[in-house]
Symmetry: C2
Subunit: 295 residues, 2 copies
Amino acid sequence: MSEFTDALADVAAATETALLKLIPAGDGPESQVIDAMRYSVMAGGKRLRPFLVLATADLFNVSRACSERVAAALEMIHTYSLIHDDLPAMDDDDLRRGKPTCHVEYDEATAILAGDALLTLAFEVIAHQDTHDSAKIRSDIVLEVSKAIGAHGMVGGQMLDLVAEDHVLGVSEITRLQRMKTGALINCSCQAGAILGKASETQRHLLNAYAHDIGLAFQIADDLLDIEGDPKELGKATKKDEAAGKVTFVSLLGVERAREQAEILTDQAMKHLEIFGEKGNLLRDLAQFVIERRN
Amino acid sequence: MSEFTDALADVAAATETALLKLIPAGDGPESQVIDAMRYSVMAGGKRLRPFLVLATADLFNVSRACSERVAAALEMIHTYSLIHDDLPAMDDDDLRRGKPTCHVEYDEATAILAGDALLTLAFEVIAHQDTHDSAKIRSDIVLEVSKAIGAHGMVGGQMLDLVAEDHVLGVSEITRLQRMKTGALINCSCQAGAILGKASETQRHLLNAYAHDIGLAFQIADDLLDIEGDPKELGKATKKDEAAGKVTFVSLLGVERAREQAEILTDQAMKHLEIFGEKGNLLRDLAQFVIERRN
């Protein structure tokens, strides 16, 4: 896997370079919101969504100059969702990846605005002609992304998670919640790469199935790490779900069946990539990484 | 003016019909966020931004089917900005137009998410092919709008307003704040109509100057109403700025000079419309309305 972790690190570095370029430091008293945007996008993370955009776009030989802009835009959206989810009125988290969350480092108002501005900037970056010569492609990506992250996608998933605190969820409900809350953005990362690459309907359908499977496997792996992971390697406390009485795939299925399920999903994900031949290797390695990762 | 107020009421009705159609009631436990979106977009208001989109698009004979979608999208963005600005961490307002604000009617988490989802849906509506056959036009509107409302526009203006509480502002700083916080969205309402109408560079430049002037006049009129308005007609308490020790155009210039300034801006705004001949009458009437309104 070390070749793969190098590839992952390269994508992270390229994404961070793009993010800093797309969010230049401001001046004037209002630049506090820009500082907060830069702080939050640079707070680390695996840059999984950028990786999916780039690896998918690579299948179709899209220029990295194009795909890196879209990758950075989707990472802005991921960051906005984390900033807002961490707010006191939502999940009320003070730390993320060992660093103070945005509203702790700045203040609540600045964090709300930084999230709003990152979401807005993501659409600006996608719609800008530097992203692709074809306005149809730019507009299609805006549409795909906005559908994925709105009230019927990511935002709906966060709402569901908040109201779920008062309900007992079963496997199908937890699956639906995960598909909306985290799956939709993972999915549209692949779709954005596919749109850039002018993928066929069949190719898009297969990439959709792949993303669906690895999204779910990723969530199950996350739940397993919360039970079995090493707090030092993870950079965060474990057994939080259990302590909070939160229903997860692991609490519903048990450790063994949850692990089996993640492996089945990963195998399925690999099968969807067959038509791409060797070009699909980066996406294959990612599927494997998702369930083998230690943090 | 009664013909004009009829036109304004017609636009408001058409916008509300479009908004309800674009945000259909949801089902499932996550539909609370959709309820909150519908609640806030239907909480009234003059629908000034939709009026500007439609009246500008009318200059170029754009079909109302197209311009009403963009008008509704910009009203979603205006509503999102109000929901977030009203939050306890921001301006902490419990009432708006005599109704409980979104976080009071629902809760803070739902209000944050409803704002996020309205912003996102606005881009979905603009990018959808029903808005215009030309992907270039859709993409250009996404770009224009996202630039106007991000960290260098509306969101930056709100940040400036929050940090300004600790500073003494002069006329030029107050003008800059207003241009960012409310002017940018008013401006891009005209520009969105102009893009739909494939306006020339000169036409876009003149509409930009018009919007700039009425935006500022609107703000001065607002400050004057806070001093001189009738709380019953306004549907809100007056003399709030003074009580809060807030610097406004009126506190800086005095009532007389502020009124003069608003009239000068309105006259200037009218002049920018000359090349449009009689077709510009709706926009002319709006400029007059902005400073004559009682609420």
